[in-house]
């Protein structure tokens, strides 16, 4: 598989479970070394952020402390780190929940805190590993728009991993489709239309066409592997 992410570009990675999506993500984050091949990153340490399927917050820390954590780990003073965390939480609309603990937040709110934590370091590369998979449909759609709005403000390159075709098409300007066999790309689909998405985008002809193209490619990839 060969995957390139342009500066400030959003690429979605779609594929069935076990196709190596999450592994690709960990390779890009530098958390694992590739067995073969290489990973070239313009974004260095401290410029990459990660959001998992679960919010992955520390339950003993307030929302604010959780968001400030990456900055504090990088050696920033507590006061300044908390100031920036405060800003990041405001950006995801959670100023009121600063002092709440993760156990007191709803699933959607916890995910927003996780997003704020990922953005607080102003990353050039943002890796989203099925970030909405555990949320209900309505929360999922609101959060999808929020991520796109935040992207428009901060312009990180985003790799968005999902197994949901519609979500992939909605979130990205390019969708890379994986085959069922691990570590192989079946091809990619360019999605028409502006980002962030205008209202009613899901009902548009462009959305439908792209989703169909991705679905077809997914099905072919499954057949080839079988």
């Amino acid at each position: 598989m060969d995957l390139t992410l342009g500066v400030g570009e959003i690429v979605a990675l779609v594929g069935p479970s076990g196709c190596g999506k999450s592994t690709a993500m960990r390779l890009l984050a530098g958390l694992e070394q590739p067995v073969r091949g290489e990973v070239d990153r313009a974004a260095g340490r401290g410029e990459t952020s990660l959001v998992f399927q679960a919010p992955t917050l520390a339950p003993w820390m307030s929302a604010l402390a959780n968001v400030a954590l990456p900055l504090e780990l990088a050696g920033m003073g507590r006061g300044e780190a908390r100031d920036q965390a405060h800003e990041a939480l405001a950006r995801v609309g959670l100023s009121a929940a600063e002092n709440a603990r993760p156990a007191q937040l709803s699933g959607g709110m916890a995910m927003r805190v996780s997003l704020a934590r990922a953005l607080v370091t102003r990353p050039r590369l943002l890796l989203l590993d099925e970030p909405f998979a555990a949320l209900d449909e309505i929360t999922r759609r609101t959060l999808a728009d929020d991520v796109l709005t935040l992207w428009a403000e901060l312009k990180p390159a985003i790799l968005f991993v999902t197994h949901n075709v519609e979500e992939a098409v909605y979130m990205a300007s390019r969708v890379v489709v994986m085959t069922a066999g691990p570590g192989r790309a079946a091809g990619e689909v360019a999605v028409e239309g502006p980002l962030p998405r205008p209202a009613g985008f899901r009902a548009s002809e462009g959305f439908r066409r792209s989703a169909e193209a991705v679905s077809t490619m997914l099905a072919q990839g499954m057949e080839r592997a079988a």
Partner: protein, 255 residues
Amino acid sequence: MKRLTDLAAPVVFVGLLLLAWEMACRLLEIPTYRLPPPSAIGEALIENFPLLARSGWNTLATALWALVIASLLASLMALAAGLSGLVERAIQPVVVTLQVTPVIAIAPLVTIWAGLEHPERAVIGLAAVVAFFPVFSGALTGLKAVDPDLERLFDLYGASRWQKLWRLRLPTAVPFLFEGHKVAAGLAVVGAVVAEFGAGSGGSQGLAWRILEASNRLQTAKAFAALVVLAVMGASLYALLQLAERRALVWWRGR
């Protein structure tokens, strides 16, 4: 209403049990030295209360000292084992061996090491051995219970070894430590009694001594009274720690 019946159920049950016991003793004319009726135990309890309370306090103090010592040692050793797999593999067999050896079996040895004139030290040491394991295994489990994704984030953000310990592993271990101490406190009381049976008690006689003494003199009601004090003490300590644990968890997780 449901809460009321929930509360009443055990009271009524125990009441009926005591009543049956009392009736059986009287109707079957069982001699008091064999099985005293609850009324006789109650009398013995009132009559000997100052003595039993003093002995109870001695046993409690022994158990608490043992708990403190076990807590410190077990936490430090768990920390060492949690930080280094080599240390863990090295001490694990020793810890397990210590845990599966009955405390009563090592009591004579510990009595010799503590000095024959200081059996109360031996009792504290033995009770500490009993209380050691739950704290150790709780702390070690907690240090290893880190959410792997959270650890990946720490790695991604370049956390040092110390930052990972202070900001990730130790806080993760906190609830496990509470649980370990709760179990250890109950075991420390049991250990204090068993150890006193095995090692004797020197100057500060505890409840085990009272039970032995009363049994030897066939004052069975008094032995039972000492048992009652012991049971109430153990249950209260457990309830207290349960409450403390619940409060502490609210503090830890915010609700």
